[in-house]
């Protein structure tokens, strides 16, 4: 039995990057092409080690840059292969044009983006601005909170991307440093169990692929209505992503015993008067603060945003309807609106949830720690707004 087939169920203390590498390896990608960049380097180094040890049986292409990496995985995906790449900030923007290709060709590539601040102000630090900068490339985007979720989400990403009704590339985002280098106990499932979970894809129709020698190709000019038609098909596929993310999460829960709530996770929101919405590693810290505030009698809840693109309008509206005030914690900024980007998108559903006070908090830029004290401050501010006090719409912390 090959080394790959012997990967059995085990629990190890590993970093977020290593968890992502395990997640990718367990899905048996055909082609991996990536270029190192802090804070992702360990991920592709681990994959290279798996490959060298015979645990990962794939074509591992050591490209000279991220633009090539994206082009390689896009091409390989269009030839029918299961592909994987990983990058961060500078690398993500270096592959910008190729990302549009991958999405436009509907190639189901899975990519990890380790959140790091993008170019302009040099920083080797975590921040979600890189994820924000590729919002509308047409990729599905998900965000992880813990190392276990990174591994699980990577497996779910392949299930989602390659679903015949979806056929879209998927990015998994997680915070650099606070998650990429965070070592936690992670359960690594047995590879046969992952094979079984993904086997549903085999019973679906096959997507069109490039075949050497055959007169078939992708990338024709989208002339006139042809272009519009393909754009509408892409949008429709994005719409279908939302319910399927919930289904996939439930299927994963049944197969592996771990569920994450699907598009969003609600934490103590049912009877909450005020809610904080956030994503990524800050969610973990926020949970402890919410519990402490609840002990003091404050009825506060938390919404964890897992799916970012497409934006989970229906489920978020459901969770926030009837609340007295809402705060959104962003780890990035939206230049056009002077607030956080997730805040701006949450504000856009005001008509669904009632025009209540909504507050934007910006924290955690460039590795700045989102501490329990900061989150406590945010919750107090949201509470005061819910009581009718005048409030500042946008607050930058610290």
């Amino acid at each position: 039995m090959s080394a790959q087939n012997r990967v059995s169920n085990q629990t190890k203390v590993i970093t977020g990057n290593a968890a992502a590498a395990y997640g990718a390896m367990l899905c048996r990608p055909d082609v991996v092409a990536a270029y190192p960049i802090t804070p992702q380097s360990e991920l592709i180094e681990q994959l290279a080690q798996f490959h060298a040890d015979g645990i990962l049986d794939c074509e591992y292409v050591t490209v000279e840059g991220e633009n090539s990496a994206q082009n390689v995985v896009c091409g390989a995906s269009m030839a029918g292969g299961r592909t994987f790449t990983a990058t961060s900030s500078y690398g993500l923007v270096y592959m910008y044009d190729a990302m549009f290709n991958t999405a436009g060709y509907r190639a189901p590539v899975v990519m990890i983006n380790v959140n790091r601040e993008p170019p302009g102000i040099h920083a080797v630090c975590s921040g979600q601005q890189d994820m924000i900068s590729v919002r509308d490339t047409g990729w599905v985007q998900l965000i992880a909170e813990t190392c276990q979720e990174i591994l699980d989400l990577t497996i779910q990403a392949f299930r989602l991307a390659e679903d015949y009704s979806i056929q879209l590339p998927v990015i998994i985002n997680y915070d650099g440093y606070y998650l990429s280098f965070l070592a936690e106990s992670v359960n690594i499932p047995a590879i046969e169990d992952v094979d079984k979970y993904l086997s549903v894809l085999k019973s679906q129709p096959k997507r069109p692929t490039l075949i050497p020698g055959e007169a078939i190709g992708c990338g024709s000019h989208g002339i006139g209505m042809g272009y519009v038609e393909l754009r509408r098909k892409h949008m429709a596929a994005m719409d279908r992503v939302m319910p399927i993310v919930d289904v996939i999460d439930e299927e994963f829960g049944q197969a592996f015993g771990r569920r994450y709530g699907g598009q969003i996770e609600t934490y103590r929101t049912e009877d909450a008067d005020i809610v904080l919405v956030t994503s990524g590693s800050a969610v973990g810290t926020a949970r402890t603060v919410i519990d402490a505030k609840r002990e003091e009698g404050m009825k506060v809840g938390l919404v964890k945003l897992r799916l970012y693109r497409p934006f989970p309008v229906l489920r978020l509206s459901d969770a926030l309807k009837g609340k007295k005030a809402i705060g959104v914690l962003d780890r990035s900024i939206c230049f056009g609106w002077g607030c956080g980007p997730l805040y701006m998108e949450t504000k856009a559903i005001s008509s669904n949830i009632g025009h209540v006070p909504m507050l934007s908090f910006i924290d955690g830029l460039a590795n700045m720690d989102i501490t329990k004290e900061h989150i406590g401050q945010m919750i107090d501010t949201i509470f005061k707004a819910s009581q009718g006090d005048s409030y500042q719409e946008v607050t930058w912390l610290p």
């Binding site: 203390v13 970093t15 606070y178 280098f181 501490t371």
Partner: protein, 185 residues
């Protein structure tokens, strides 16, 4: 024993990040929930590195840096002059220090005891290179009493093999045996 927070101070190349991760592995083997991560800007030798490790009976959900450590491990003695080194140390705090000398004064009011060992010297003897981290973890086991030397040795198997593992086991054992504990009231 309730949960503990440990902050590691070192320089790139000395194994501070590895020490923090190894401690997490050790405590995971003792059945605790663990979380460990480093904070640094540029990945290069000589740059100051801070690492954080938490362990607890409960699941650890927060992902912040450590502001009120129960224990500090200082891998490079030149870092002792850092003004912020002892910031936030909890009363009854413990220091594990790589140094050839005992401390002349109590560097922080909250510091109750310090486990001091010339780990650089031990590492140069046992491993042949200035990688004092496993020696200091052995010293930490003895000084704090929070985990056994046996768990340390088993925890190292997650990261090392062959002769490197044997050398580091000797490193850790000597750290455990030779650490000198200084106490203050």
């Amino acid at each position: 024993m309730s949960g503990k927070e440990i902050r590691f101070h070192g320089r790139g190349g000395q194994g501070a990040v590895m020490a923090a991760k190894m401690l997490a592995s050790v405590m995971a083997r003792e059945g605790k929930h663990v979380a460990s991560f480093p904070m640094y800007g540029f990945e290069r030798r000589g740059m100051p590195v801070i690492a954080f490790t938490r362990f607890n009976d409960e699941i650890i959900r927060e992902k912040t840096q450590i502001y009120a450590p129960d224990c500090l491990m200082v891998i490079d003695p030149t870092l002792l002059s850092l003004e912020t080194l002892f910031t936030g140390l909890k009363p009854g705090g413990i220091l594990i220090l790589n140094s050839p000398r005992q401390l002349e004064t109590q560097p922080s009011q909250n510091l109750e005891k310090a486990g001091i060992i010339n780990a650089t010297h031990v590492a140069l003897c046992e491993i042949g290179r200035d990688i004092p981290n496993t020696c200091l973890i052995g010293a930490m086991a003895k000084t704090t009493g929070w985990f056994s030397l046996d768990s340390v040795i088993k925890g190292m198997e997650d990261y090392l093999t062959g002769s490197m593992l044997k050398k580091n086991i000797r490193n850790a054992e000597r750290g455990y045996d030779e650490v000198e504990v200084q106490r203050w009231q």
